[in-house]
Symmetry: C2
Subunit: 314 residues, 2 copies
Amino acid sequence: MCPFQKMECVSLPPLSTFAVCGGTHGNEMTGVYAVREMEKHTAKKKGSVSITAVLANPRAVDACRRYTDTDLNRCFTDALLSSPITDSSPYELSRAQELNTQLGPKGSEKAVDLLVDLHNTTANMGLCLIFYSVDWITLHIYKYIQSKMPSMPVKAIQLDIPISDAYSLESVGKHGFAIEAGPQPGGVLRADIFNMVKEAVDHTIAWLEEFNSGCTFEGGEVEAYTFIRSVDYPRDQAGELTAAIHPKLQDNDFQLLRPGDPIFLTFSGETVKHEGEELYPFFVNECAYYEKKIAFHLARKTTFTFPSICVAKD
Amino acid sequence: MCPFQKMECVSLPPLSTFAVCGGTHGNEMTGVYAVREMEKHTAKKKGSVSITAVLANPRAVDACRRYTDTDLNRCFTDALLSSPITDSSPYELSRAQELNTQLGPKGSEKAVDLLVDLHNTTANMGLCLIFYSVDWITLHIYKYIQSKMPSMPVKAIQLDIPISDAYSLESVGKHGFAIEAGPQPGGVLRADIFNMVKEAVDHTIAWLEEFNSGCTFEGGEVEAYTFIRSVDYPRDQAGELTAAIHPKLQDNDFQLLRPGDPIFLTFSGETVKHEGEELYPFFVNECAYYEKKIAFHLARKTTFTFPSICVAKD
């Protein structure tokens, strides 16, 4: 069923290989179980698409921790992927290079056509795609998932980083995005979040099938959030937190923050307010970002336009 | 202000020492920050009560993990507290013996009069006291906190274990209970949960003051949940999970489970139902219990009665 089959379109190469990764952070359970289930049940080739399910950081999964030596999902820059491995290298650096060999090499013709990496967050971000530079395939899939899951909060974040400096696993594919799903605590598996992510992956596979079969996907526009800056917690001279996220900000990812809106509540009961321009918070109170000194990120809402696309005929 | 000052009462010794512990599990952040704040701001002696704030497992707090070698909060049985410490002993066992020296010894006249240990859970348990054998002081404080926090879900769980086998830190005090507060992910601090627990601790201190000053507390009854049994996740032959908590059970701690009610949803979409008698679930989808093979506990609702009490005059 291709509603816009006869429309003018930009023709792009077929997308015949698809990698779904999970467990890049070993305590983000949706991806761990989604990948295990795909390994059991998915035929290697589904129609026109060859699907690979990869448990990205098995050591961290076994330990049920985000990582063992260093954050794997910060290891996929060109520089780190080409750095020498020695006995003292962090496990995750060598694992990143293995994954790059298996699914890339990043930036090469041999790289998998689409790579989706499954993550969870303790923030109330619903289902959220994260992508780097503007990529028409990703934007089309984002719009498609939104249209297929109208009752779900499906959003997207763009990180404006050159692909060579892009540090996360999905940057290894020719096209790629992360799916963040939350709120879910580390080490916990929630059925509602699992089913939401599974559905998004199934829609992605369906989109690839339709694209490869010759459907034209109509151009248009989508809204996404472009990362602007991060905000740290208030801390004392020893670096210890002196405040928590304010209850009025907690769980309110993607709700516009205006100057004067409360952002922190100190342990002694004082409110700290947002200053500066109106921006949208996300990753509010993400567990793993305490050590990165990030209480939340701020973004601007951006409209991305993209053309109608179709598969190039042989 | 003692509303029942002239009533008949069972007289009990004054409660002049109070220990508040946190960080017994190093990634349960409410207790970590509550104890740090109390160390900064609480005068050592407040009226008739001498207060000690103790960070119970500093190594686990530094690592932001539940424990480093073994679960500290399973180390306070008589047997483990008297077991020899060697170079190969887990850190938490030696730490338990240190805490027993500082706050106990358990079962002795030197033990702190009241010990409250602050915990978090990823389960939706609100504010929940956990206590061992029936203890009038704990039941009175529970009733008092309920009356002072009428808008909060304040519940209590009783574990019917002899005090010598009681494995958790609060068993070291002459009287003691744990406060579980949730839902809060491990490694995350939520202001709403922090303030709820801080208020409960403040009410506990206020109750101790009133008791020591000669107020009579009227007898009565409270409802609590008595632990009956635990339920594990469905697993395959390799021991891997094949299901998650069902969305209709998730977040519904303390809601009566009837035979036929859904409890698990398998990854292939089948519902597993509750069998046997009507019971109340709690600790539903607690992060730390995956490794203990516990999906949730089941309890019976019990009414506990207790007499009017007052402090013994010199």
